[in-house]
């Protein structure tokens, strides 16, 4: 701040600070409002609040209506992330050795490929084989969707690793597997965990892909709320769930930035 402060005359400086404050207000306002309105002591959304109460959180805990879809989201994200880590670890070891740009581009491609288009293709593929709406089809699609996020972080961890350690393990007679298990894996574990959390959140919050290929039986929370909102509006139980999820995501991203400085992986 000091170095930049000299050249800014007072009014320009005030303008700059005002703009920064406004920009941060813009970034945080929707999430903040999301959390605040869930405390409303009224039967529907209103602003300013009619009063502060916890009754919608109590209702949320007791009402099993939306819990099913939240659990379904949590489960889907868990399976997809776990499967993706299992695919990503060996693939990233291969990529780290070979540095094959083509394969790397292919594996990262879903990141840049519009989800709507891919979802449409998947819908038709699953339809052709009579698999539409099965849970396993959702898991596989989500696995591919989160893989680029995990792959990027794991690859970067491998590239930051001191390769001498690996060489040392080999020269001391360790085999491939034990070198991986005892040397490489512990070093890249933080990266794998960061990647897994990234992937989990991406899968948990997805609307587009799930919207196309899920059936009413295994609908996730975001898709259920999206469709309901279009037809019957929002109710307070949904707002309570949204407040809780927003808050948890805020805490996760705070921990991730404080302890893993994970913004550098983007």
């Amino acid at each position: 701040m000091n170095a930049g402060g000299k050249w800014l005359s007072g009014s320009v400086k005030a303008l700059y600070h005002g703009a920064v404050w406004l920009a941060f207000l813009f970034v945080t306002a929707p999430g903040l409002l999301m959390i605040i309105v869930a405390f409303n002591d009224a039967d529907y959304f209103s602003f300013p609040l009619k009063g502060v109460s916890l009754r919608w959180f109590v209702e949320m805990a007791e009402n099993g209506n939306y819990r099913g879809s939240v659990v379904s989201s949590l489960r889907l994200a868990l399976y997809a992330t776990a499967l993706s880590v299992l695919l990503t670890l060996p693939a990233s070891l291969w990529l780290h050795r070979r540095a094959n740009r083509f394969v790397e581009t292919v594996l990262l491609a879903p990141l840049f490929f519009p989800l709507v288009i891919w979802s449409l293709g998947l819908l038709q593929l699953y339809g052709m084989f009579g698999l539409s709406g099965r849970f396993v089809t959702l898991v596989l699609a989500h696995t591919v969707m989160v893989t680029p996020f995990i792959l990027r972080v794991v690859l970067q961890s491998l590239r930051e690793m001191n390769s001498r350690l690996e060489e040392a393990a080999y020269s001391l007679g360790a085999g491939k597997w034990s070198t991986f298990r005892r040397v490489i894996f512990p070093i890249i574990l933080p990266g794998v965990m960061v990647g897994a959390v990234f992937g989990y959140l991406i899968s948990f919050t997805d609307v587009t892909l799930t919207m196309f290929i899920s059936s009413s039986g295994n609908t996730t929370f975001p898709v259920r709320v999206y469709s309901e909102q279009r037809s019957e509006g929002l109710n307070m139980v949904v707002l309570a769930w949204s407040a809780v999820i927003t808050f948890v995501i805020f805490i996760i991203s705070l921990i991730g930035e404080k302890f893993a400085r994970w913004s550098r992986y983007f």
Binding site: G4, G31, F47, Q124, K176, M211, S253, R264, F266
Partner: protein, 293 residues
Amino acid sequence: MTQSSRTTGGRRFGVGWMLLSPALAVYGIIFLLPALLLMVISFQVNAPELYLWERVYSPENYRRFYTDPYFLKVIGKTLAYCVVVVLATLVVGYLLAWSIYKARSFAKTTLITLVLTPLFSGALLQSLGWYLLLARYGPINAGLRALGWLDKPFNFLGTDAAVMIALVHAFLPFMVLSILNSLRTIPANLPDAAASLGAGSWSAFIRVTVPLTKGGMIAGSGLVFGMTLGSFATPGIVGQGKIQLLAQIIYQQAIQVFDWPFAAVISLNLLAMLGMISALLALLTRRTGGEVR
């Protein structure tokens, strides 16, 4: 190196395709195959009741797409959205990235968290937030009426401005992180050096710092452009069905009209636009010598 690893019986990782094949197999079935299928289907005459091999092929869907003024209008509108959203995220994103870059370490963590939270909240929670902010009985209406600028509640939802603002908010984190990560690669003493050579701080910023972050700006713009082009949930919620962008039209054709071939044609056109933009940005990167991170 490869020679020795071969002779020692492949002690190193990555000798075998075994490591790669599970990922490639899943990608092949779940990612590549659907994309190929779209190309095939786009030439079919719509007949969902027939098997794949019984269907009739013709370029009719493409002709219909390119001659119908409605779809050309949607393309134009979607592209206009992309341009506005990219420019707005560039300006606001640079401001945020710069203020984070200059902040002290404690504030830095908090500020980055504030930027990251919307990114991880996903399209649904973000657009619900905007839905509440802009609703007839939401805080923005309440504020404007308290100031006396509005006599009766105005429904901002369903307007172009509302959807654009929500999209800027949704994709801003990607731009901020792109620019921030390229700011981080600038040697700390470089702007000072420029200043000591007589450049004013403002001109040091414009002539030294900004050109060095061109790579981040181009990468961020590409990402935001692509995401706006394919945006689905945000226009759906904030637009309340009144704003039809390409992705909505695709969903409508596929799920409501049940015309999969036509949805495929729209999809492939969207993909072609994305390809052209990526090529353009790659060219721009090479021309300006910026490095895409």
